[in-house]
Symmetry: none
Subunit: 279 residues, 2 copies
């Protein structure tokens, strides 16, 4: 029997559950509950709370979760953002503001059209992380500098005040759309209509079968630390007069989406330079 | 002066304001406030309340509206659904349930892809109406029978409990997407063409105003030559046993689409390493 085209898909997807929502410095328990509900409606399960500024287990949080409170109970807690990202292969951060140093900026639609490829390019255990900042001040520049790309939700320029649970709802919806379209593609059903502009947006890296797995966020962080140490050692970088040197190099390396062999090559180069500097 | 293609559009569009949100039998003032906020973030202005089961002007409604409460004050009130739909040329109703009598059923994405055409087909004074039902029981079969099509938001089949403000947020977002895409089409900007993956990556970089011009191909070639010389000097690269070292580094640097300052920084680093290698 042919299933009705609108019948729900039978099982939650393995890969949609690898999309992690990371909340940084959330102040209101109700918002954490609203985020849990928004996630669960779209089939997301992994919530990470970085330095929350409230107790996420209050009755208000549970009430707003409206049946999704197990996501609050299973949420991981972290003091530092890096801990919540260590196994992430692609990190995007929601940002309303224009930053002093521009960063690759994508729309939620482009996030959606790239997601299946990013998941495929990541290792089987790797995660995709979507960062959301504080209700009042968003993400800091340091936090945004951990992202491969920033996402700007195209809101009314005269009233851009999206509630954090609403922002999570939109991004989780776009993630689910990506999964539904990938499933449709797999099943060769004609539902996958969005083959035009969105399809063309897949990046050079993922549109071919890449020869090496992507480096993890932690790998890239170690590379950046190594680079900074080496540049101090050679005298090129003076931490007392940092200018924007390290942020610029960080942006470049994150933008390029390094694979594991590239990371190893670059670290090998750094080690050889260190030996020159202190023979 | 030609505006930047990604600059916020100057004025709210006439036609996006003709998309009306119709709430039937809403019980909770907070939800009406949340709906107003969701609408305003996406540039919608017309709210119609049909037989609300609460006072929409409570402090809770105003608090949840978070600055969008003028939409509550200007909302129209109706006893009968037909009154709220009389000037509507296209009516869609959000429905979670499968009905006994099947109705044309579209996804929010198809709603979005059809919206501009429906607006164009409607008269200048006509409206597009999106119906949302009661928090507990949704829309009745009679109410759904007023719709040209039903919209099913594709939620997790195990947890489809979308808050009404979240459902309005998603549909308003899809309406805004339709408008943004129509504006792009109208202005014949080349952004909608997405020629190839390389173009897409450049678009991603330029979709914010980047802080430096892109390096020319010749600049990048000179950088790669400099890198190769330096790696030979330090002993890391042996041209007699090249393996794939230089092609891999070349691929990485070309993929990242370097800007001019990044090229200068990298050449500065190489020069400082050269000085170490031959003091």
């Amino acid at each position: 029997m042919v299933p009705h085209p609108c019948a729900p898909h039978p099982t939650p997807p393995a890969w949609l559950e690898r999309v992690r929502i990371v909340l940084v410095g959330t102040s209101h328990p109700g918002n954490i509950g609203g985020v849990a509900r928004a996630m669960k409606t779209m089939g997301l399960r992994e919530l990470a709370l970085v330095a929350p500024r409230c107790d996420p287990h209050t009755s208000e949080a549970v009430a707003r979760a409206s049946g999704a409170d197990e996501l609050i109970h299973t949420a991981t807690r972290h003091q530092r953002l890096e801990e919540a990202l260590s196994d992430a292969a692609w990190v995007v951060g929601c940002s309303a503001r224009t930053r002093t140093m521009p960063w690759p900026m994508i729309t939620p639609r482009r996030f959606s059209s790239r997601l299946a490829d990013e998941v495929a390019a990541a290792g089987e255990e790797a995660r995709i992380a979507i960062l959301f900042g504080r209700e009042d001040t968003g993400l800091t520049n340091d936090e945004l500098a951990h992202c491969n790309a920033h996402v700007h939700i195209p809101t009314n320029p005269e009233f851009g005040s999206l509630n954090i649970a609403a922002a999570v709802q939109l991004m989780a919806y776009e993630a689910r759309q990506a999964w539904l379209e990938a499933i449709d593609d797999d099943e060769s059903t004609p539902l996958g209509e969005h083959l035009d502009a969105d399809q063309a947006l897949r990046t050079a890296m993922e549109s071919v079968e890449w020869d090496n797995p992507l480096a993890s966020h932690a790998d890239v962080e170690r590379l950046i630390e190594h680079l900074e140490r080496t540049l101090i050692l050679t005298g090129f970088h003076d931490p007392a007069q940092p200018r924007q040197l390290i942020p610029r190099l960080r942006r470049l390396l994150l933008r390029a989406r390094l694979d594991q062999m590239e990371t190893n090559i670059l670290r090998g180069i750094l080690t050889s330079v260190e030996r020159l500097a202190k023979p």
